[in-house]
Each structure stands twice: as C-alpha cells, then as structure tokens.
Amino acid sequence: MSMSEAVTPPTVSVENVSRWYGNVVAVNDISFALGPGITGLLGPNGAGKSTLLNMLSGLLKPSNGQALVMGEPAWRNPSVYKRLGLVPEREAVYDFLTGQDFVRLSARLHDLPDVDAASLRALEAVELTDAKDRKSGGYSKGMKQRLKIAASIVHQPSILLLDEPFNGADPRQRLRMMDMLRRMAREGATILFSSHILEEVERLAENVLVIVAGRLAASGDFHAIRRLMTDRPHAVMLRSSDNRGLAAALVGEPAIFGLDLAEEGLTVRTSDLLAFASIAPRLAQKAGVTLFELSPTDESLESVFSYLVQR
C-alpha cells in the first residue's frame, strides 16, 4: 500500500526528492505523502533520515524534486514554521537559559499572545515543570530532549518532525513522550519521527517509511512491513561434532530451503526461524550429532533493511 493512496489531503509530502553532497547521494528520488497520524521514518544510521527531515523542515534545499508542507515548498519559506515544529537530533540547547526561558524564547519568536501560558503548557506536556527554573545546561540528555520537544510544540503545530527523539530518554520518559505524541496525533497532528530502532517505531507508528541507503525501501502499514521482516529468509550458522551428518539429517525438513557446508560450519537457510530452532536440536540428537552452536547470521537491522530493498 502506498502512503499517498492512504491519506488525502497530504499535510507533508515529498515529490521525487533527491539530495546529494558532491558525489555522495544522501537521498535518492523519494516520494511520499503523509496526513494526520504518526509515521515512523525507519532506517539504519547514515540512511538519509536526517537529510530527508531537514529538507522537509526547510533547512536543506533538495538537489532535485521538492519537499512540501501544506502544499507549499519548505525551502526558503519561513511561513511554514507557523504550522511546523522541528525537534533536531543534535543535543545543543542554549545552556545559559533556564528550561522555561528556552521555551519562552520559542514562544516569543512565534509571536504568541500569551508567552507564559504557552510555555508552561508545553513544559507540562513533557513533564519538565519541576525543572523549568534550572539552567538547561545542567539537564540530562533525556531532559534536553524533552525540552527541545517542548520548544517545538509551544505554538501547537499541526506538523511535528522529530529526528531521533528518543535518544537519551530513559524507558519511562520514552513511554511518556510516546503518549504525548499519540495524544497530539489524536488531536489531528501529522507527526513524522525518525529512528533506527525497530521497537520504537513498532510501539508508536501506525505507518512507516523504511529508508535504506537514501532510497525508500518500503512504506505503508507497520504491521505489513513487520511481517515482511519476520517472514524473510533467515540464515543460521551451526557448529557440531559432525557437520556433514547434521546436513544429511536436516536436508529433508520443509522449513529448510538451503544448506551450505563449509569448513567453519554449516549454514542453513530457513523460512521459519523459530520452527527451525526447535527442530534442529532434536534432529541432531536423532542423528547422533552433538550441536555446539546455533546462531543467526543476519539478524542485524541493516540486513533486514537490505532484504527489504532487494524485494
């Protein structure tokens, strides 16, 4: 399912957008459109997530194509910030300001009528009211993260872009921040957040954009993509007292569709990792082979993403 089919009208969209730095292509011909709700931008480090978010927030000029906010180009268009909030990845805040002054500054620059009320509301939303009078330079990484979110939502934007927002947050803070974002989404906000952690996206996002090496590898409903990730072929390395004998015992199993016997061990390719993990020890025992090791070889997120790209 393409996301552009799922939502109309889009509040945020990119059309054939690319961005390169010299010879390096950071984002390569990506198109999507998003409406209200939470979308996760998932991909390994260096995939181009921040570049994409920076183009959407008007901080980077697309080399090709365009990034649109409410139908208007984001680049060189400061008026989009009336409706858009950005939580940057970098930790830096104005260390010499108190938490409340930092959020107040944001409210003032948005020319809000009641700066104090708006800043207190934003600080409450991220549960920073107790620390609001402390200098932000003394905040923990998680507190700074929440402070950045407070500053970005002080004008109650209808679009919120967050670059790795859960970095540094402890599990409790993470859950609270997720609740807050869900609440904003229920109230009609379009939220796009980037993460390289599958579980974060799984917990929060209804929709997902998977970006790998600058390309959009998959997009749509998270559960459909998760199924693709789970059902993909897995490679498992086995070491035993008799690898050849073990290969002979395993070859007839329907869950196994490939075997590779090498000096360092036996590599098995299976479509059902859990089923294989349960039958392999039994078959080995039956064949009189002692199993020393059974380890998946391609469980890194990068390999999962690579699989999605190849499909």
């Binding site: 181009g48 921040s50 920076n54 940057p88 300001l97 500054l105 500053a151």
Partner: protein, 244 residues
Amino acid sequence: MIGFIFLLTLRQLIGRRSTLLLAGLAALPVLLAIVFRLSDTGTEAGEWTAQVLYLGLVVTAVLPLTALLLGTCVLGDEFEDGTAVYLLTKPLPRWQILAPKLAAAWLLTASLVLTSTVVSGVIALKGGDSAIITGFGIAMVIAALAYCTVFVVLSVATTRALIAGLIYVFLWEGAVTGIFEGVRYLSIRHTALGIADWIAAVPEDTFDAYVGGETAAILLAVAIIGGALFANRKLEQVEVRESS
C-alpha cells in the same frame, strides 16, 4: 522579535570566556598609556597618542581582533553547535535574525574599543586635545560596524570564518595595503583612519590618513550596507546539515 534575539545574543557573547580575553585586549592600550605617562620619553603626547597608541595598537590590533572574534561567533557558533536551528525554524524573515545578531556584535565591539580608546587617550593626553580622542573614538565605532558586518558575512559564507578574517586583517590590511597604497581604499582600517583624520582635523605632522574623509565615509557605508545585504542573502540560502 529583534529585541529578544538581540538580548539572547548579548547573553551568549558576554558569557563566553573569549569575551573576557577581549576585555583584557581592550585594557592593553590603557596600560600602554599609563606606561607612557609614567615614563618621560620626550615624545609629543598628541603625536604619540595618534601614531603609537591609536594607529599602532587600537586600530591595527584591538579593533579588528575584537570585531573578528565577536562578529564571526554571533552566527558562526550557533551553526557550529546546532542552536541556529531554533532561530531558523521560526516564522521570521532572515533579516530579523541577522540584524540583532550584527547589532549585538557591534555594540559589544564598539563598547570595548571605544572605552579603550577614550580611557587610554585621556590618560596619554592628560585629558587635553580631545579632538584626537573624539576623531578616533567616532571612527572606531563606525569601523566596528564595518568590521562586524564583514566578519558576519564570512561566518555565513564559510565554515573557516576565523581563518579568513585573520587573513583579511593581517595579510590584506597588515601587509598588502602597506606595499600597495592604492588598495588602501579596500581596507576598513585605512578608511577608519580617514574618518578619524577628518573629524579630528589634527596637523599633518601629528597624523595624516591616506584615504580622504568623505571617500572613507562612502566606502564604509558601502561596506556596511552591501555586507549586510549580502549576509542576509547568504542567510536566506544557508543550509543546516545534521548527521544522517
């Protein structure tokens, strides 16, 4: 809006350790003037103040170095540490970010250099011949704006603003304009001296600037207005990159 960014920038500048160093730099002419007063060199005070104190130290080193460090950091530091994003992602035309940043750098530079100029001049001249102090004082304030504008331009145009600024101050203004007199028209230092000479109206044997007063005023105005417009244009096109 402008006021908040101006105050924010002043707090940033005043909180920097390097600003303390700049205060120390501004104190150097005062110390030199005290040494001059305490020692009997036989040199005429007006000539010494113009040639040695102002031309040799304030105009050549204190003013450009102060403006360089403050002018390049008002925006440059924010781009470097990532806080510029909090200003750039607001519904403000970029000139409303640039103007207060430039004004803060100018105010602090001018305050430090003017204080240094006036206090050291009063000490060296025993309070007499205020024309020299007035002339150089006004010239320092105007030149501070020109220097700050140029260094702000460098900070939005290059990531090596400090190095580019040092090359301008020491290589271009220090060496090249010394060898080729004609290019002094392209030097803030020499145009500032033109202003000082114009206002102070001191005898030629005390001090004589290469660039005439009216010409200097026009050149400085061009540098300030042209530089500010160019900086605004660069700021409108500036890109913020984060690790992806």
